[in-house]
């Protein structure tokens, strides 16, 4: 255990190397990540991430709360895509509740609303990722463009659930409230406005020569390595593996929609190789388009009338355990719940996609430059709230 504990970098006397502590207060460690860098000039010999600065005892808290009370805590995990976090938790609980005879199942209308807000939130999350990545690389303008568009999504969310960041909208068995009148028109307005914007951003940043020079062939995370580390989501797809739970293990009503799973490619024109920063980033840009496609299909189909909440007496999942996962914008979000049949879980464990992604940083960053570390952190798109919980 002694070697396990001394994970801090030892400073070698009389060496030319410098130990640099990047974070927890640093503009581009995406929150409160602390990196301990051993530098040889500008070259990184070693990078050790230190986490825990945003630890809020989510799992321990959850053991003392009833299931519906846990949902607001999931909001605060990945606060960039709180809808998807709510959804992931509710899916797991609903799966346990399915054995309960009094639980009537999630109504159709609620499923549609869930997909709608889930995909909107995925766009908002990827927009933020795109914007902050631009800023990490040094382009400030994409960040504000992304926030301008994200603001529209937040306004939509504000209309439907009253909150702009921590929604607590998706509840066990349905959603908290029905959509207001004309909300779908507003969604349609936004989608019509937003769809051409993705191409604009691609011309602005994705195809920019300097951006390409900064991200192409940097920190190649190939498929084997990604799977070994348990990396999921856009980071895995950027490595060329076509794996998306919405497609491969469809939950909710995702099997009713027609959409593609974007993956990374070798692109000789710009020199991009599978699994480099550029590909990971590009997958997110493409996913926004696919989310728009899904939302368009919902708008074109008629959303069934009816209740938005399942019928049940109380949330008392039968004794047992479950691990259920869903596709959050940053990868597979898993919840492991142990129930003893009471209103509170005995044990709750969240499997965070960002945490697994961050674990690859140490291997990815060897021999690169300080500026590349920033490019990696941006491209694996971590949210510290989810890592530390």
């Amino acid at each position: 255990m002694a070697t396990e504990e001394s994970k801090f970098i030892e400073v070698q006397p009389f060496s030319d190397e410098m130990v640099l502590s990047m974070g927890p207060q640093h503009p581009s460690t995406h929150g409160v990540l602390k990196l301990e860098l051993r530098l040889d000039g500008e070259i990184v010999r070693e990078a050790i991430p230190h986490i825990g600065y945003l630890h809020r005892c989510f799992e321990k808290h959850a053991e003392n709360l009833s299931y519906p009370q846990i949902i607001p805590f999931t909001d605060r995990m990945d606060y960039i895509s709180a809808m998807n976090q709510n959804w992931g938790f509710c899916l797991a609980v609903e799966k346990m509740m399915a054995a309960d005879e009094k639980f009537s199942g999630v109504p159709e209308r609620a499923e549609y609303l869930r997909v709608l807000v889930g995909e909107l939130n995925r766009i908002a999350s990827h927009l933020l990722s795109f914007g902050t990545y631009g800023m990490d690389i040094g382009a400030f303008t994409p960040f504000l463009y992304a926030f301008r568009d994200r603001e529209e999504i937040l306004l939509l969310f504000e209309e439907i659930c009253g909150a702009r960041l921590t929604y607590n909208y998706i509840r066990i068995g349905g959603v908290s409230r029905d959509m207001p009148p004309n909300w779908l028109d507003h969604v349609k307005n936004f989608i019509d406005y937003f769809e051409p914007k993705v191409d604009e951003y691609n011309t602005l940043l994705t195809e920019n020569k300097i951006f390409i020079a900064r991200t192409v062939k940097v920190a190649v995370l190939d498929e084997d390595m990604a799977i070994n580390y348990g990396i999921t989501g856009p980071n895995l797809r950027g490595a060329g593996k076509k794996w998306d739970l919405r497609k491969d293990e469809p939950y909710s009503i995702y099997d009713r929609f027609d959409f593609d799973v974007p993956i990374g490619h070798d692109i000789p024109r710009i020199g991009a190789v599978l699994g480099d920063c550029w590909n990971r980033y590009k997958v997110r840009m493409d996913e926004m388009k696919e989310s728009v496609r899904i939302i368009r299909q919902i708008l074109n189909q008629k959303i069934p009338e009816g209740p938005i909440m399942a019928q049940y007496k109380a949330v008392r999942p039968p004794a047992g355990e479950i691990f259920d996962r869903s596709e959050a914008p940053r990868g597979e979000l898993g919840f492991y719940i142990v129930s003893d049949g009471s209103v509170k879980p005995v044990r709750l464990k969240a499997k965070s996609p960002c945490f697994t992604a961050l674990s690859a940083l140490q291997e990815l960053s060897k021999g690169l430059m300080v500026a590349d570390i920033i490019a990696i952190i941006g491209s694996i798109d971590i949210v510290m709230g989810e890592i530390d919980r």
Binding site: I137, E152, A371
Partner: protein, 419 residues
């Protein structure tokens, strides 16, 4: 060969044409001094001229900071500062007052003397460059009075010299802060500024070969006679030299895409991480003064200085024209800053050593050959004609290449929905 060595001939000349600096103009237009001061009148006029510059030049950053915020707001679909004064025009003033009243922090274990000294060095040498820049000229009688503090006969050489001292101030700031971020930033800055001074110097040299003088006013005088006589069009190589100079100038003043020394996302704030209050404001003033200075030098060397676009039309001695041209270049710098990402440190060095320096050497060779063939040192159609033809063809081919990639991407913008 005489043409090549002519440069050194001019270095030894003390009087430069019939141009007189600003002090001379003040002596002409101001009322005569009382008798007991008469023997000091030259000195007093010089001090007054310096006073005018010291008073006016620091106002330039004040305007530019606001301009940058407004330009970036315009590019980013925002309004920018709007609260202080109409359209926020007093915002910089308010920020300045705020910085002035902030606590004066010096990091512990830092080198206190160097820490205090660094901002002053940077500001002094940024402002020193303005001494040799001609802002305009008026003719009174048969004398020509130039709006310049000191009409040095080695003007451009002097500017190069004082602007390279800035890097010492930056290293001082980085070292004295006792912070690894500052140190990294200042070392990056040193490497960058020293490297980029070479293409700057070489592209200036290719101009000097044509004009055969180092005197800034002398360079402007040679561009008399309208748009076509600007040095940028004199030879095709000076056209290239302008762009090499401008790119290197952006790098020298540490702006995006070459803003690595203060790369916010990497080094927090670079060499001025630990600075606050008025010292930080001094860095800011220096940065924007520098930006204006390099653009003013680019205008003087390549874009006709204060000479107008059309011959014979010099409103207010060409001063508004000069300021307009300079501000346009400053705007281009801002435009670039708010559009492009940042290069990595090795890519930055590659660009300088692998592309800009060879191109600059090629320019010097080209200018030499061009002068031997066409005699570009005098402004006539014999040399200008072929030059313009070559430039037009080159620009045409370049634009065709540039727009080849984006021809198919026609976009229309839809207004933001009001949901």
């Amino acid at each position: 060969m005489r043409q090549f060595f002519g440069i050194f001939g001019n270095l030894s000349e003390v009087t430069v044409g019939s141009s007189k600096p600003l002090a001379g103009l003040l002596l002409e237009i101001l009322p005569p001094l009382p008798a007991f001061l008469e023997e000091y009148e030259q000195l007093l006029a010089m001090i007054t001229a310096c006073g005018i510059f010291v008073g006016v030049v620091p106002l330039i950053p004040l305007v530019l900071v606001l301009a940058e915020r407004k330009v970036s707001a315009f590019i980013q679909d925002r309004t920018g500062p709007m609260r202080v004064g109409p359209w926020g025009i007093l915002q910089t003033l308010a920020d300045g007052v705020k910085l002035l009243f902030k606590e004066d922090l010096i990091p512990p274990y830092g080198d206190r003397v160097l820490f205090r000294l660094a901002p002053y060095i940077i500001v002094c040498f940024s402002l020193a460059a303005f001494v040799a820049i001609p802002f305009g000229a008026i003719d009174l009688g048969d004398e020509r009075y130039v709006f310049i503090v000191s009409n040095l006969n080695i003007g451009i050489f002097y500017i190069l010299a004082v602007s390279s001292v800035i890097v010492i101030g930056i290293i001082m700031a980085g070292w004295a802060s006792n912070s690894k971020w500052s140190l990294l930033g200042s070392l990056r800055s040193a490497a960058q500024m020293v490297s980029y001074e070479i293409p700057v110097g070489l592209s200036i040299l290719s101009v000097i070969m044509v004009v055969q003088t180092l005197n800034m006013q002398g360079i402007v005088d040679q561009q008399d006679g309208g748009l076509h006589s600007w040095l940028i069009f004199r030879t095709p190589f000076s056209f290239i030299a302008f762009f090499v100079f401008f790119i290197s100038a952006i790098a020298e003043v540490n702006r995006t895409p070459f803003d690595l020394p203060e790369a916010e996302s990497e080094l927090v704030a670079g060499f001025h991480t630990e600075y606050s209050g008025m010292r930080f404001a001094l860095f800011f003033i220096a940065e924007y003064a520098n930006m204006f200075a390099v653009c003013a030098i680019a205008v003087t060397l390549f874009l006709g200085g204060w000479q107008g676009v059309l011959p014979g039309i010099d409103i207010l001695g060409g001063l508004p024209g000069f300021v307009f041209k300079t501000l346009f270049l400053v705007f281009v710098m801002m435009w670039i800053r708010w559009t492009l990402p940042r290069l990595r440190v090795d890519q930055l060095m590659n660009l300088c050593w692998k592309y800009l320096i060879p191109v600059s050497f090629f320019n010097i060779l080209g200018v030499g050959i061009w002068m031997l063939i066409f005699g570009a040192d005098t402004m006539d159609m014999k040399s200008l004609g072929p030059s313009l033809v070559v430039i037009v063809i080159a620009v045409f081919i370049l634009l065709k290449q540039v727009f080849k990639g984006v021809s198919g991407t026609k976009r229309e913008t839809t207004p933001v929905p009001s949901s």
